[in-house]
């Protein structure tokens, strides 16, 4: 049986071929922190990290991440970025927020103090219809405070 690792835990991969990673996380494992807002790679709500790199789980087949390390919002709950988002009020309805935080934590892992330009570049694939953007930028620039 193929395996993959999610938030540090190994899972046997029993899903049928053709299942998306987002679907597998939400439906098979009950990890509903990963949201689906478009299901076709246009919004970033479903962002997770594969070996630390943010990817869109709704257009990633689960079998392509076999033997890789997947990190979802559930694996990032204690990351200081979460409190930074709350402190800065960087969320309104919150539906895009887990995806935003997954992208933001990958960004600061690579660039701990990103500039405004770097934040805009790294985060522009995560849509937020509530328009929490100014405070998302603030949360990312102050995450270590």
């Amino acid at each position: 049986m193929p395996e993959l690792s999610i938030n540090g835990e190994r899972h046997e991969l029993a899903a049928s071929v053709g299942t998306s990673l987002a679907h597998y996380l939400r439906e098979d494992l009950g990890l509903t922190g990963t949201k689906i807002a478009c299901n076709e790679g246009h919004c970033g709500a479903c962002t997770v990290q594969v070996d630390g790199v943010p990817i869109l789980s709704c257009i990633t087949l689960v079998h392509t991440v076999e033997d890789r390390e997947v990190t979802t919002i559930e694996g990032l709950r204690d990351h200081p970025m979460v409190n930074s988002f709350v402190r800065s009020d960087a969320l309104q309805c919150g539906f895009c927020t887990p995806g935003q935080i997954v992208s933001a934590t990958a960004l600061v892992a690579a660039i701990p103090r990103p500039s405004s330009e770097e934040i805009k570049h790294a985060m522009s694939g995560n849509l937020c219809r509530c328009g929490a953007y100014p405070k998302i930028e603030e949360a990312i620039s102050t995450w270590q405070d």
């Binding site: 807002a37 402190r87 309104q92 309805c93 887990p98 995560n126 219809r129 328009g131």
Partner: protein
């Protein structure tokens, strides 16, 4: 004693009269300015749950045995089903039920693309969608009506045209030294809430139904669902704990809820019906496009002599006539005003309320027109607005309950005065300029709305009410209000909401009404509980009630004694103190409105037509501000949606078939983080002394209203070009620039 009174209620600018019962006790308003908790920044109470992905939205709820529905939607803008065969779908793997067009709300004569025709319930959503693709339909395609002007000519209207007139436009015209006439157009825009419309229906026997739904109004869903299925309202329970955005599109149950309920009844299992993003952009409502033919006249000193507007709303197959003429009627002092609004009934999806419906569109036209007039009269645009400031509602001669618009203008001055400096930063390609626009909207809320406050032995309090928090942070504001009244730190307040079986009736979260409607009820409930605490403490500590108060979690006596609240509540052990409160009436004979002004700074590349908005300053009067942190988020969110409306968003229909070409989020362009300008929020924060025990008005909608006109006016300031059509794409910008260069310089055409 409860008193029965008749009062006026307003939602999204539509007024109705109704009876309400009010309690005798009227609380004095708190003093203006920040208090212990109210008026201070508080991060949202459920922010952590949402941020950590623990919050369970309707999209995340999975009931035991739950089936998934999928809907077959009409691929044609107008068609008839000649023959339908669901046989293959019924036999497909996982399918448990199929409904054909004979079951409402499904139809065999779909009047717009995306109208629901048939539906399937299956074990998984993939199986349901596969089965839908196996339904065979023979269509008879009919000629759709798509052109709103043609619909008006043919009298195909959603409702009677709305004609309103005060004074005499012809007289005003005769008195005018200058007249400006122009046609403005706004496009159809789509809400695109991140959580799509969805509901789960579960029957308990054949006469009790639970609906989990992403909604802005659990009580409205309860009422409509109960009516449709002939159930007592208390047999319908509606739950919405967390929801992922609505912006006006989730005010009622919608077809998907009825489809889920019918399929749940047919199968005896809970059924979820969730729209895909493409379905969301086909058939979940829209801000309808408009055509506005406007005229204004003024004396040479800038005094408006008349305003005249004809507004054509492309309402679609269903919906209501949004108040596109509202700003023209309400914003300025002008004796002669005439508006006529048409709602064209078309073979296009029904409109739905979208954040200040009508006023966003109408303000774009009106406030651009005012600037065109200012240019002609050579009067400063801010000064022109000041000269036409209205002191009362001229529609029905009522005084405003409060109006701080002149204060907004005063605060706008330093930003407005940057004009020369901003313009001076222009070069051969990039032209820079500053523009402004004013805003008027409703947002006073109204009764009925109720809240309970429960205090337990541990000295913690719960606010219990059947309202919903659609992402505006209203739950946090309620916790602040209760904390203030109870003298408790805000982290000792829990807010329980979003379940019609677990709290009293509460307002719709639309029309900027949650805080002005619910806040006073929560304060009244907390005051009721506080009064009981004081009465008990007076007996326990042998003091007179009037010397006792609640502060910082203590019961404080004016003689210096103080006792932790738990000492009193602890006496009760498992006992509880229960307070109840309701929303009182709005001030009689007054008009409650919100006001504001925004100043935009833009840069325009005159070679490519690219428009970059560099800064927006938003100054609004919404009465008392409960949570300045959440309030600034609301302002930013409104402006960013306004920015999309102004520059990038447009639902495109194929003009020959009526087919939607922008169903996906790569085709339909909402703003990203990279598009966001600097935003400065300045709220006047003066309580409306006539409005409720709080003096707070609503804030959800005002910030989106003036954004488009402020940007368009800044573009005119930068380039001299009149952009009159949204979105301001590069094509539109270049068209306006070409037109401006063909005209003689503005100085020569001045009045």
């Amino acid at each position: 004693m409860a008193r029965l009174i008749r009062t006026e209620k307003e939602v999204e600018g539509r007024y109705t009269e109704q009876w309400i019962v009010v309690d005798e006790d009227v609380l004095e308003q708190w003093p203006a300015g920040p208090l212990e908790t109210v008026g201070r920044p508080v991060p949202r109470a459920d922010g952590g749950q949402r941020a950590r992905g623990e919050a369970r939205y309707t999209a995340d709820i999975k009931l035991p045995g739950m089936l998934h529905a999928a809907i077959l939607r009409s691929p044609h803008a107008k068609a008839r089903v000649r023959r339908i065969d669901t046989g293959r779908a019924r036999r497909a793997p996982g399918v448990r039920a199929v409904l054909g067009p004979e079951t409402g709300p499904l139809t065999d004569e779909p009047p717009y693309e995306g109208a629901p025709v048939a539906a399937v319930a299956a074990e998984t959503s993939e199986q349901a969608r596969t089965a839908v693709s196996l339904i065979e339909v023979e269509w008879e395609r009919l000629e759709p009506l798509l052109d709103p002007e043609e619909a008006v000519r043919r009298n195909e209207l959603i409702d009677e045209p709305n004609r309103e007139e005060r004074g005499e436009v012809e007289r005003g015209l005769a008195e005018s030294d200058a007249v400006v006439e122009a046609e403005y157009r706004t496009q159809t825009v789509l809400h695109n809430s991140m959580e799509t419309h969805q509901a789960i229906c579960e029957w308990d026997g054949d006469d009790r139904l639970t609906v989990y739904i992403s909604t802005q109004f659990i009580w409205g869903v309860r009422e409509e669902v109960a009516k449709r299925f002939g159930l007592p309202e208390d047999h319908v329970r509606v739950v919405c704990r967390f929801m992922g955005g609505g912006f006006g599109s989730k005010n009622g149950p919608g077809d998907y809820t009825y489809v889920a309920a019918e399929l749940a009844r047919a199968t005896g299992r809970p059924v979820k019906c969730a729209l895909t993003r493409r379905e969301e952009n086909l058939d979940s409502g829209n801000r309808n496009s408009t055509i506005q033919r406007l005229r204004v006249g003024a004396r040479s000193d800038g005094t408006l002599t008349f305003l005249d507007g004809e507004f054509v709303n492309a309402t679609g197959w269903d919906g209501w006539l949004a108040s596109t003429g509202g700003p023209m009627r309400l914003l300025y002092a002008c004796e002669n005003v005439r508006t006529v609004e048409y709602g064209a009934k078309l073979n296009t999806p029904p409109m739905a309320a979208f954040r200040a419906p009508g006023f966003v569109e109408g303000t774009f036209g009106l406030e651009c027109l005012l600037d065109e007039l200012a240019a002609k009269l050579e009067i400063d645009p801010l000064e022109l607005r000041r000269r036409n400031h209205s002191t009362h509602d001229a529609v029905d001669e009522r005084p405003f309950s409060s109006k701080q618009l002149l204060e907004c203008y005063r605060r706008a001055e330093p930003h407005w005065e940057r004009r020369d400096e901003v313009r001076a930063r222009s070069d051969a390609t990039w032209k820079r300029g500053v523009g402004l626009a004013s805003q008027v909207w409703y947002g006073g809320g109204g009764p009925p709305s109720y809240a309970w406050v429960r205090i337990g032995g541990d000295g913690r309090a719960a606010v219990i009410t059947g309202m919903q928090d659609i992402g505006t942070g209203s739950a946090t504001a309620m916790a602040q209000i209760a904390a203030e009244e109870l003298g408790l730190p805000v982290d000792r307040i829990e807010v329980a909401l979003g379940d019609s079986a677990r709290g009293p009736y509460a307002t719709i979260s639309a029309g900027s009404s949650t805080i002005p409607s619910m806040g006073p009820a929560v304060r009244a409930a907390a005051a009721d509980a506080a009064r009981q605490l004081i009465e008990i403490a007076a007996q326990r500590y042998d003091r007179e009630e009037r010397v006792l108060s609640l502060k910082n979690g203590q019961i404080v006596s004016s003689d210096g004694g103080s006792w932790p609240l738990e000492e009193i509540t602890g006496l009760l052990e498992s006992g509880q103190i229960l307070g109840k409160g309701s929303r009182g009436p709005n001030p009689t004979g007054m008009r409650v409105l919100t006001f504001g002004v925004q100043v935009a700074e833009v840069a325009v590349d005159v070679e490519t037509g690219e428009v970059v908005v560099e800064k927006i300053v938003a100054i609004h009067d919404v009465g008392r501000v409960i949570n300045p942190l959440g309030a600034s988020s609301q302002v930013e969110g409104g402006i960013i949606q306004g920015l999309g409306h102004t520059l990038s968003e447009e639902r495109l229909l194929d003009p020959s078939t009526g087919g939607n070409l922008t169903q996906t989020l790569d085709a339909y362009k909402i703003p990203t983080i990279a598009d966001v300008p600097e935003i400065v929020t300045d709220l006047v924060d003066v309580p409306d002394e006539h409005l409720t025990n709080l003096g707070s008005k609503g804030l959800g909608e005002p910030p989106i209203i003036p954004t488009a006109a402020a940007i368009a006016n800044a573009i005119r300031d930068a380039t001299g070009a009149d952009v009159r059509s949204l979105p301001i794409t590069r094509e539109e910008m270049l068209r306006a620039l070409r037109e401006a260069s063909r005209q003689p310089a503005r100085e020569e055409v001045g009045a």
